[in-house]
Assembly symmetry: C2
Homo-oligomer: 351 residues x 2
């Protein structure tokens, strides 16, 4: 089956594709889209107008919504985006949505071959009724753990596809450095306080590259900022894509002490791709992404984290890189989606 | 044309229908629904499960969303509501939506006979593209002034229908009292400060019956609360439907010093129904609702407002009531909507 497909990729409009800085979903949509184009498919990307892609771009808004400081009617732009896709369902063999439940009624009413990758946490009871109502819609999870809250809802899972990275953008660093790295957002559920406590206990330097969202500003000022004066702790703010591989590759380990069921910790595989092992708490997708004792350590307590740092010599950096090449490269992700696209498109043809 | 119609009324889910306290849209939907039922139509009301109606009630949520204190995914419930309506479009001769642009793609993709009453302000440029895209959708404005920001968009206006009141719920009060009344929300665009300034200048008592939304709490504390200590000013908080006619009917006049283009000031006709004249600033729908010199005064400045209070003796309370009986009673509103329903339903049959 090497037939080329006409594929729509429907991205959220909050960040451009790929994002300038933070933005996991739009980043993954970009990796996926560019690889599909490279394979010869006819891809139309629905995304903000400042996106950069080799696909055909259809933009319901000139600029990504989150960058325009003013308050905006996000919903109006996403309705417009989905209308543009689903009013011409025959233009596509498959429509791949990354915008959550808003796309469900469009897909059903248009009778279009559609899959929805769910990028967020699913343990939000307010959404259960809408997922149940649309339980025929083909859903893709980004980890097995992500599905857990939907047990018993009877939704139509058609696969789990792990995120994958373009490895040329994450060069392997054979030798790490001496510091622990924390990368992402400063927020209570990311537990930067635990990373700082770990560094102090062990007397090891910690570098924090993280943004602070407006909603987390009070938490940052009250709980985290007072801890940043310590000589071992270096807070460097938000970093861009260009600086990220260097920051990760030069670390001794990535610390990921999360306290929420993160459906896929993208930074885990970014660190591993650079050869840097990860120390991650046992929540959400962590047990699927980390090979305990081979690419890092899965931990529960601060004591476990201390023990893990002391055991880092047992981890081979080459093994970390190898695991990403095998399980978390963009080619592997796109193989997964292509198989689902072909299966659904052929069902639609024979229907 | 006395044929009975199968009608869906699609209400927002934020307040029950009718609301316990504040909530203009859900209140109007209730008046409309009950009168349609009284006329013999087969009406299905889509609304929160705690609504009270003689129509058939279909509830995508057990309780109104705003009363449940917790943060909620409002969108999920409204998607579910619209899916339930538009997945069975042949069950209805007409679907009447009160939920804004979210309903547009449902109506178009389902090919259903639908009208949308727009209840909010329309001067929000973020929404222009979505209205333009769906410019075939039949829209009803609640005043002529409301349409102004859409000039040139080419949308499909099928009528203006003023809100109407069930007059038995607003008994006429032949004699007013000595105080000025302010009723609604405490917020900068409602200008309660002007009402207070007016009372002080004239030495006339003012009663304020108003709620304070969380978003307006700082404004209330900084700008309004310090003014409430004055012996002429009586702040009585939010009042319920039962107490409202008494509060309005016993006033000398309602003061409505708004500083935004309010598309329909429901409280204006509530006061007039009780026989109480209104003093309202020339914004939005005010010039359509108030007959200057007959049911009250249309003003621009604080000086105009002073002059208006001094001229109140020229207004006959009976004339205020009469104007509501003529132009703003529920029967008149439902006549307006019935005519639009029949016109669209007959177009659909002949299409």
């Amino acid at each position: 089956m090497s037939r080329l497909l006409r594929i729509a990729q429907v991205a959220p409009l909050y960040e451009r594709v790929p994002p300038a800085l933070y933005g996991g979903t739009e980043r993954v949509v970009s990796y996926l889209t560019e690889e599909l184009v490279a394979r010869g498919h006819h891809v139309t990307l629905f995304a903000s107008g400042d996106s950069r892609t080799k696909a055909k771009l259809v933009a319901p808004t000139a600029r990504a919504l989150r960058l325009d400081g003013q308050p905006r009617d996000d919903l109006a732009f996403h309705i417009l985006e989905l209308a543009r896709v689903f009013e011409h369902p025959r233009d596509f063999d498959i429509i791949h949505c990354h915008v959550g439940h808003l796309a469900f009624p469009f897909a059903r009413l248009a009778g279009a071959s559609t899959i929805h990758t769910l990028h967020g946490r699913l343990d939000l009871p307010d959404t259960f009724a809408v997922f149940k109502h649309f339980r025929d819609q083909p859903l893709v999870s980004i980890s097995h753990a992500q599905r857990q809250p939907f047990k018993g809802l009877g939704v139509n899972w058609v696969g789990t596809v792990y995120h994958g990275l373009p490895l040329d953008q994450f060069p392997y660093s054979r030798r790490g450095g001496d510091y622990l790295a924390f990368l992402g957002r400063i927020s209570p559920e990311k537990r930067p306080d635990l990373a700082i406590a770990l560094a102090k206990r062990l007397g090891v330097p910690l570098k924090i590259a993280a943004k602070v969202d407006p909603v987390d500003r009070v938490y940052f000022q009250r709980e985290i900022e007072p801890l940043l004066g310590h000589p071992l702790v270096d807070y460097i703010g938000e970093i861009n894509d260009h600086d990220k591989p260097g920051f990760l590759g030069a670390a001794r380990a990535l610390v990921f002490p999360i306290d929420w069921p993160e459906p896929f910790g993208l930074v885990l595989i970014e660190a591993l791709a650079c050869g840097t092992p990860v120390i991650a708490r046992r929540r959400g997708s962590v047990p699927e992404l980390v090979l305990h004792g081979r690419t890092g350590f899965i931990v529960d307590t601060l004591e476990d984290m201390e023990q893990a740092v002391r055991s880092l010599d047992r981890i081979e950096r080459a093994e970390c890189r190898r695991d990403v090449e095998t399980r978390f490269c963009v080619e592997r992700m796109v193989d997964g989606y292509e198989a689902i696209y072909r299966s659904l498109a052929s069902q639609a043809r024979s229907a």
